[in-house]
């Protein structure tokens, strides 16, 4: 570490204003303050300060996704290895085959599964990180900003929402679209009104539907078709999921095909609980999403339908299929794009919960309701806050009028 510090210190004079590489200050600063606490001081009130800072907030969110990254590797490998065993394929195709098979393709071996899955998750994440990071540094350099840790969060969340077989050029285009159109054009961190990771994913979803939806993309074996639990439910309800051989506990624990990070509801709920305990994720939003989803799905259960099997899907299945849990814990709770008043947060959550079930049940075209529901609620978040604030103001005016 000492050697690294010395290298950074020797670079320091060159990137300060007037130095020969001053254009690279943003990059230098990101590396330097990411690894060490900075010596620069500020002289403004207040002198005493709380212990938490933005870097730490973003760091916590990033750490909370670690179990999901692990599961992304394991489950992608597990699904692929199982499919290969089923189809009698000996080794993975394409360039990945050169590495992925070092430890065999045994779907009962954890290590073999993780290693195989790593060759799907890691390229996706690295592409996201390099392309998105390049854009981030580019904008920071041109604007004279510092690179913000928010990008670490955006990049990992974006990677975890993609199917394992997504072609890497599409990953690059998706994250570029998400960061530029979803965030930078509005002025960067804190100024965007849509979640950049979801903007990127939505772009890919509509631009390359063949690579983002359907039955062929979820298991990383060529020629294998396997629907996600949610996709199956669209056609035949719970019975169709059972036909695929998935029980509720499979879906809850995460042994089902799906996007990289969304499959294990259990791990997502645990990570989300940790985020809520540290106060970073708003429990009001999460509670609102749950309440909205439970109420709406129960309502559809009551109404019932002969032609649409999704009407009969109970709330505990909605919870474990598709991106619901992941979106609820990691996407809906993004403070920048959510409502920021306390009662507004509940309303915002409920709106997401209602919309996700609406999209899943009554819209036959898109099985992925969570992404669209959150983007929809992002747009309404400022309006919700506006209503909450106006109501508060009115109530207070009435109260002061009463006491005066």
């Amino acid at each position: 570490m000492k050697a690294l510090r010395n290298i950074l210190d020797s670079i320091h004079p060159h990137v300060m204003p007037g130095g020969k590489h001053e254009k690279w200050y943003a990059l230098y600063e990101a590396v330097d303050t990411g690894l060490y606490s900075p010596p620069e001081t500020t002289g403004v009130a207040p002198h005493v300060r709380d212990g938490i800072d933005l870097k730490r907030v973003m760091g916590y969110v990033w750490m909370a996704t670690f179990p999901l990254m692990f599961w992304a590797c394991y489950n992608a490998g597990y699904q692929a290895n199982s499919a290969m065993a089923q189809m009698g394929i000996e080794s993975a195709a394409g360039w990945r085959g050169a590495f992925a098979g070092w430890f065999g393709y045994d779907h009962t071996s954890i290590f073999s599964n993780v290693w195989h899955g790593l060759w799907y998750f890691l390229p996706v994440y690295l592409t996201t990180f390099l392309v998105g990071g390049f854009i981030e540094v580019l904008f920071a350099t041109v604007r004279g900003h510092e690179v913000n840790e928010g990008f670490f969060v955006t990049s990992i969340l974006f990677s975890l929402t993609l199917p394992p077989t997504i072609p890497l050029p599409m990953v690059a285009i998706g994250i570029a679209f998400g960061v530029i159109i979803g965030k930078e054009v509005f002025g960067g961190t804190g100024k965007n009104f849509l979640n950049p990771a979801l903007v990127g994913r939505a772009f890919l979803f509509f631009a390359y539907p063949a690579a983002m939806s359907g039955n062929a993309v979820w298991v990383a074996v060529d020629g294998y078709t396997g629907a996600t639990a949610l996709g199956a439910a669209m056609t035949g309800g719970i019975a169709a999921i059972a036909e695929l051989g998935f029980s509720w506990s499979d879906a809850f624990l995460g042994f089902v095909p799906g996007s990289l990070g969304e499959t294990s509801t259990l791990l997502i709920l645990l990570s989300g609980a940790a985020l809520m305990a540290t106060g970073i994720a708003s429990w009001r939003i999460v509670a609102g999403v749950m309440v909205g989803m439970v109420l709406t799905s129960s309502l559809f259960n009551l109404i019932g339908s002969d032609s649409n099997p999704m009407f009969a899907m109970p709330w505990y299945w909605h919870l474990v299929v598709g991106g619901f849990a992941f979106g609820m814990m990691f996407m809906a709770t993004d403070p920048v794009t959510a409502s920021h008043t306390n009662s507004g947060r509940i309303a915002y959550g409920v709106l997401i919960g209602i919309m996700v079930v609406l999209v899943r049940v009554v819209n036959p075209a898109f099985p992925e309701g969570m992404m669209l529901a959150i983007l929809f609620a992002n747009i309404w978040a400022p309006m919700i806050d506006y209503v909450v604030i106006s109501r508060n103001t009115k109530r207070r005016m009435a109260r002061t009028a009463a006491t005066a």
Binding site: T42, V48, D50, I52, D53, P335
Partner: protein
């Protein structure tokens, strides 16, 4: 014996902060050695003063050296005998009377005024908790209830607590005088419940209600204390007098007692504390004492960072220019430390529940950058008391209170400009109307004359 009533409920919002108060209360209030020079500030936020002395003039201790013509300002007195060396403007735009002090055996000049209010006015007493508004003007409006604010809630500051421990009798006497002056039926002393020694000292006296509030910052804010003690919430911009209330600070009450004995306000208790101070304590400092003299006398390192005021609302100050004023309650002197660099706001909203005024600091922050007047007014910027609770919890380390303070100034400047433009407009249309009227009158007179002439010639 006053009976202590302890409140269970604390204020909405605010923070439970570590007080750092015990360190400066180990010793009693210390005297300060007579300095060789004072710089008496002519400018404060409640109005500019006019010097009554000229360069080279010999000034007696306690002599009035400057008065303020404005309504909210106060007179200024020399703390010691000496000679006026120059009347000058410092680089921070502060105008001062620079006095060289020379020892003199002459006694302090006493005030000459008949009524108590006149004596308070002549003594130059202002709200010493921070507002600096002329106390005589505040007490000139009759109210039902007078509150003495002894809830010194800001971390590090202990001057009021130290004063109460040693001079409770004088403070109570001053409070009663103020009560008489303002004609209040009720006199309440509101104090934080962790100031046990000060509460014991106050209990020895009588004739007021003693109410202890929880030590949550900012319980000692004027509006917050009123709500805690009486359950009355002032609407934004409403002054306490509109609800039949007046609030004065402990040190102000003490100064009123002094003024009643004819002594002007020339010194105050100042807490000198912080990590760069070897023995933090409270000191009697003369008004006009340069801060750099304080640093030199206490042998404090030159690179120390000085804040005038406490840890929350105090402002970083250049020690070479600052002087002790009537509202300077604390010098917080710290060795430089690393602090968090400022990051962008991510609207995490942690600033909202801590705002004691129930404002939305994050939204106001976006409205200040860039300055958006309609948005700031919609979010009631003017109701911000700049307590800096939002700063304290902000994970992005944004200096919110400072931004709001600047925006408030900007907003006031704009409003003032508008008011004067409106007045000018009114004057202009009044002049137009007057000229028109005069012209019409002249025309009418001419017509009348012409008609009379015609009549005469027709005859």
């Amino acid at each position: 014996m006053a009976v202590l009533k302890t409140l269970d409920h604390s204020l909405n919002g605010g923070l439970w902060l570590d007080g750092h108060k015990a360190i400066s209360l180990i010793q009693g209030i210390q005297n300060w050695p007579t300095p060789s020079q004072v710089m008496l500030p002519l400018l404060d936020k409640n109005g500019a003063r006019r010097a009554l002395v000229s360069v080279g003039e010999r000034v007696k201790a306690g002599q009035c050296v400057a008065i303020c013509d404005g309504i909210a300002g106060s007179a200024l007195h020399a703390p010691y005998a000496g000679t006026v060396r120059q009347i000058t403007t410092l680089p921070n735009a502060q105008m001062v009377i620079d006095m060289h002090l020379s020892p003199s055996s002459e006694p302090c000049t006493l005030l000459e005024a008949s009524t108590l209010l006149q004596r308070i006015d002549a003594a130059g007493i202002v709200g010493m908790g921070g507002a600096g508004f002329a106390t005589a003007r505040k007490l000139g409006q009759p109210v039902e209830t007078l509150i003495i604010n002894a809830a010194e809630c800001e971390p590090y500051i202990t001057c009021d607590e130290a004063l109460l421990r040693e001079y409770a009798a004088e403070v109570v006497e001053g409070a009663k005088l103020a009560q008489t002056a303002v004609g209040a039926k009720r006199l309440i002393i509101g104090i934080e419940n962790n100031k046990t020694e000060a509460i014991e000292a106050l209990k020895q006296h009588d004739g007021f209600e003693l109410i202890a509030v929880p030590p949550k910052y900012p319980s000692g804010g004027e509006r917050q204390l009123i709500e805690l003690l009486l359950g009355v919430r002032l609407s934004p911009g409403q002054r306490p007098v509109e609800q039949g209330l007046a609030v004065i600070n402990v040190h102000t009450a003490y100064a009123i007692n002094n003024a009643n004995d004819g002594r002007p306000l020339t010194q105050r208790v100042v807490t000198i504390t912080g990590s760069a101070v070897a023995t933090p304590a409270n000191y009697w400092l003369p008004i006009g004492l340069p801060v750099k003299v304080v640093l030199n006398t206490l042998g404090i390192a030159a690179n120390a960072r000085v804040r005038l005021g406490g840890a929350m609302m105090g402002r970083p100050t250049d020690p070479n220019l600052a002087v002790i004023g009537k509202t300077s309650n604390c010098l917080l002197i710290e060795t430089p430390v690393d602090s968090t660099p400022v990051s962008p706001c991510i609207r995490c909203g942690v600033c909202e529940p801590v705002c004691p005024e129930g404002l939305l600091p994050a939204q106001m922050h976006f409205a200040t950058q860039p300055f958006a007047r309609d948005m700031l007014e919609r979010y009631h910027l003017s109701a911000c008391i700049e307590c800096a609770c939002c700063d304290h919890v902000c994970p992005s380390a944004i200096p919110l209170a400072m931004q709001f303070g600047l925006a408030k100034q900007q907003l006031n400047t704009l409003k003032q400009a508008e008011r004067s433009a409106q007045r000018a407009g009114e004057r202009h249309s009044a002049r137009e109307a007057r000229l028109e009227r005069l012209a019409a009158e002249k025309k009418a007179r001419m017509e009348a004359k012409k008609a009379a002439l015609k009549k005469r010639t027709a005859k």
